[in-house]
């Protein structure tokens, strides 16, 4: 245990050198040509400041839409096949109706067909169909519900990315979580309110005529609120053009009305539709509807054939800019709800780092003094391995680009406290061995041998706790788990390997002297 081959000694110092190589750049900014690495520890949002926003897609409108279209399709097919039905009921994700039992076989063959019940993937089906004596129940399968969510998620994440990019945030991290969530991490952002505002709008834009009649109950008309004034409009449901036909939108300023506007440009199809509609409806009001609110409803004076238009609505320049961003980035397929938000200001992050470092230094100082007091020269060896340990932990974090969080710093400090445990175990064991063994070399050798299983057993239990934390925890807690786990592994190396080497040098030199611990 006390013999180290040249190769072993070389390896130990190689590991330490690599550690120092990756450790230093974290504390000094170096110019690029310098031979040292520029890889630094990745700071978590709680240390560098920033926002963590978790969004959830509200898929209900999409499921609604799907069930409506399925019900239309089904009724059409039923009529086509001359199947009479009554009590047709449209639920949240189920359709049901009654039928004459005599037609059961026709119905069965219709429903088992692919016309209505489409396949999803190789084995999935859209619908779960139950046909009783004279009632049929048709339910959306989980496969279908998940597919709806998945499609919406894929579309949404693109649009979310567009909107965030428009605001020019640095290095946003946007990823999907589970089947219906999007995680947005915005490092360095102090106030996420603007982004939250942008993400909170689906931004479905439609151009629809105001109704000529004032009959609220007539079909094809809905009553919508104005976005600014306390005012209601009767708007036709028929859509002339929608946001999909937009190819560009920019904020602008209208000299005549002296207010901010949004100028937009339509694609060819949209321009053609718009030209036709405007030509035939001169004198009517065209409502510009965003998310079921009427922004404005100007009167059409001329046919608009260029495909260029302007939306005015008493905007401030900020509002005009926001609307332009929303229109450019496109509409979300479904509303997004913010279900979790955590924001830390950059100065609080800096303060946390400072306090973390101060408590690390004080904690270390206390442990160092304690070890020297208890074990004298061997305490010094333990302290040297403690420094090596700290360097290795930081360098491993840098190499793997792991994220250091505030609890992560606490994890490092905790490691400092626990790291000397292996030394304590060894030295206490040595004391015992020295009592029964005359030779210093043999006493140390046996102590190191005997204590190995104990060190492994005890560290593995902490490692298990760290792994559970890593897999179950989120954000900052994960950071704690990472430093705890790295700390345990590097502690083993620095105390049992490097520390043993230091001790071996001393013991070999003093093999015939009385060694006191």
């Amino acid at each position: 245990m006390l013999y180290f081959s040249r190769f072993k000694v070389f390896s130990i110092f190689l590991v330490l050198l690599v550690g120092i190589y990756f450790f230093i750049p974290n504390f000094f900014s170096l110019n690029k040509n310098f031979f040292l690495s520029n890889q630094k520890v990745n700071l978590g949002l709680d240390l560098q400041g920033g926002s963590y926003i978790l969004l959830e897609i509200d898929a209900k409108p999409l499921i609604d839409q799907k069930i409506q279209s399925k019900s239309l399709e089904l009724r059409r097919e039923l009529r086509k096949n001359n199947i009479s039905y009554n009590n047709f009921n449209v639920g949240k994700d189920t359709l049901s109706f009654n039928f004459d039992n005599k037609q059961k076989s026709t119905l069965n063959s219709l429903l088992s067909d692919n016309t209505i019940n489409n396949n999803i993937g190789p084995s999935g089906k859209e619908l779960l169909i139950i046909v009783n004596e004279n009632e049929a129940i048709i339910k959306f399968t989980n496969d279908l519900l998940n597919l709806i969510k998945k499609n919406a998620l894929e579309q949404s994440i693109e649009i979310v990315r567009n909107r965030i990019d428009e605001l020019g945030t640095k290095e946003p991290n946007i990823i999907t979580r589970g089947t219906d969530r999007i995680l947005v991490e915005l490092p360095g952002l102090k106030d996420p309110s603007e982004i939250k505002k942008l993400l909170g709008k689906t931004a479905k834009l439609t151009f629809r005529f105001l109704s000529n009649t004032n009959d609220e109950s007539s079909l094809g008309i809905e009553i919508l609120n104005s976005s600014k004034k306390d005012f209601k409009y009767n708007v036709e449901k028929r859509i002339i053009i929608s946001g999909e036909n937009l190819i560009d939108a920019q904020p602008g300023f209208d000299q005549v009305s002296n207010s901010s506007v949004v100028n937009f440009k339509l694609d060819t199809l949209g321009a053609r539709k718009f030209a036709l509609a405007s030509k035939n409806n001169i004198g009517r009001n065209l409502a510009i509807v965003l998310d079921n609110e009427v922004i404005s409803a100007p009167v059409i004076r001329d046919a608009i054939v260029t495909g260029n238009g302007q939306i005015s609505g008493n905007f401030s320049s900020k509002e005009a800019n926001e609307l332009a961003i929303l229109l450019r980035s496109g509409a979300l397929p479904a509303p997004l709800n913010i279900i979790e938000e955590r924001t830390v200001g950059p100065d609080l992050g800096k303060e946390s780092i400072e306090k973390g470092i101060i408590s690390l230094l004080i904690g270390m100082l206390l442990v160092i003094l304690y070890m020297i007091y208890n074990y004298k020269i061997f305490g010094v060896f333990a302290n040297i391995s403690l420094f090596a340990n700290l360097i290795l932990i930081i360098s491993i974090l840098s190499i793997f680009g792991s994220t250091l969080t505030l609890p992560g710093i606490a994890g490092i400090i905790l490691t400092v406290g626990m790291a000397v445990d292996s030394n304590v175990l060894i030295y206490e064991r040595v004391k015992e061995e020295l009592k029964i063994e005359k030779s210093n070399l043999i006493a140390f050798d046996t102590a190191y041998k005997k204590v190995l299983t104990t060190i492994l057993d005890s560290n593995i239990t902490t490692l298990i706790a760290a792994f559970v934390l890593y897999y179950m925890g989120s954000g900052p807690v994960k950071g704690f788990a990472i430093t705890l786990a790295i700390g345990i592994i590097s502690t083993f190396f620095t105390t049992y390997v490097f520390g043993r080497y230091l001790v071996s040098l001393y013991v070999k030199k003093n093999k015939d002297n009385l060694i006191k611990i």
Binding site: K355, N374, L406, L414, G417, M418, V424, D457, V468
Partner: protein, 301 residues
């Protein structure tokens, strides 16, 4: 200075310590079900805002001001200085400019500039998930420990150590209920660390018990266990000592955010060290640990 040469009889009063532990355990459970925990937004849902004013302020004024707008239950406490405050608000804010509106209101109402340094909004769905994950993770950690010790030792050791761990976890939760410190995600992390640490302590004593069992199968079991505790006592206390030194440093200098976390760890180290000596070890006597470690004696004729 070393405690090594001293020899204490830890098992003499084992029934007394077991009773104390049992009482603490039961009291903790009673507290948990009657007083409950002061759950943070992680587990309850709601909004937490850490704010800094330019001038000094007091928490009652801030609370009164916040109550003027409809936010549900509002708690405000000083957070490190008389310019820093932490507000816990029941509402989660359906509206996306919820936080901005609170800030506007405060600045107008108190006529003081305020900086929101940290904002956490947790919806009820997330808080339920976090609660579930937190409970699962503690149970999972306990099961893994159980399996590991079973694998490395015998079932008696495994059971003994798990009883000690459950004891530590419950009494830590009881302490949080009693003191009313906020119970949040980082406290769960602390509890898991305590589980790991307490196990670490226990394993070291168990290791020694096993070693002595192999060496000597004549000695009275309680005497043997007592020897094991004594011979590892110096290590147990020294390691707990250094770990506590590091943790006390976090508690006093690590800032407000880490206060509850480091408190949980300090408490846990104390209770974990206690339980390794006074719960996990003596309990082996009740379980009748296997004595013949070296060879299996064939008893068949």
């Amino acid at each position: 200075m070393s405690l090594y040469d001293k020899h204490y009889n830890f098992l003499k009063f084992k029934n007394v310590f077991m009773s104390i532990s049992l009482v603490l355990f039961v009291i903790s459970i009673i507290f948990f079900f009657t007083k409950g925990l002061n759950l943070g937004v992680d587990f309850k849902g709601g909004t937490v805002i850490e704010m800094k004013f330019e001038q000094t302020n007091n928490s009652e004024d801030i609370r009164k001001s916040l109550l003027k707008i409809n936010l549900g239950d509002v708690k405000v406490k000083e957070f490190g200085s008389d310019k820093d405050f932490l507000a816990t608000i029941e509402q989660k804010g359906k509206n996306n400019d919820f936080v901005a509106s609170i800030k506007n209101h405060l600045e107008k109402d108190l006529n003081k500039k305020v900086d929101f340094r940290r904002v956490e909004v947790v919806g009820s769905k997330i808080s339920k998930e976090l609660t579930r994950d937190g409970i699962y993770s503690v149970i999972l950690a306990l099961i893994l420990m159980l399996v590991y010790i079973w694998f490395r030792f015998e079932w008696q050791f495994s059971l003994g150590s798990i009883i000690a761990l459950v004891h530590d976890v419950i009494i830590t939760i009881g302490a949080f209920s009693l003191i009313g410190y906020e119970f949040n995600l980082s406290i769960v992390a602390a509890i898991l660390t305590i589980v790991g640490y307490s196990m670490n302590d226990t394993v070291i004593i168990y290791d020694r018990i096993r070693e002595f069992l192999k060496k000597d199968d004549k000695k009275e079991l309680s005497e043997l266990i007592n020897d094991s505790i004594n011979s590892t006592l110096s290590r147990t206390l020294k390691t707990s000592g250094t770990t506590l030194l590091a943790l006390i440093s976090i508690y006093f200098f690590g800032g407000e955010i880490l206060k509850g976390f480091s408190f949980a760890l300090i408490w846990g180290i104390l209770i974990g060290t206690y339980s390794s000596i006074f719960v996990a070890s003596p309990i082996l006597i009740y379980f009748k640990v296997k004595r013949n470690w070296e060879e299996v004696i064939d008893t068949s004729p």
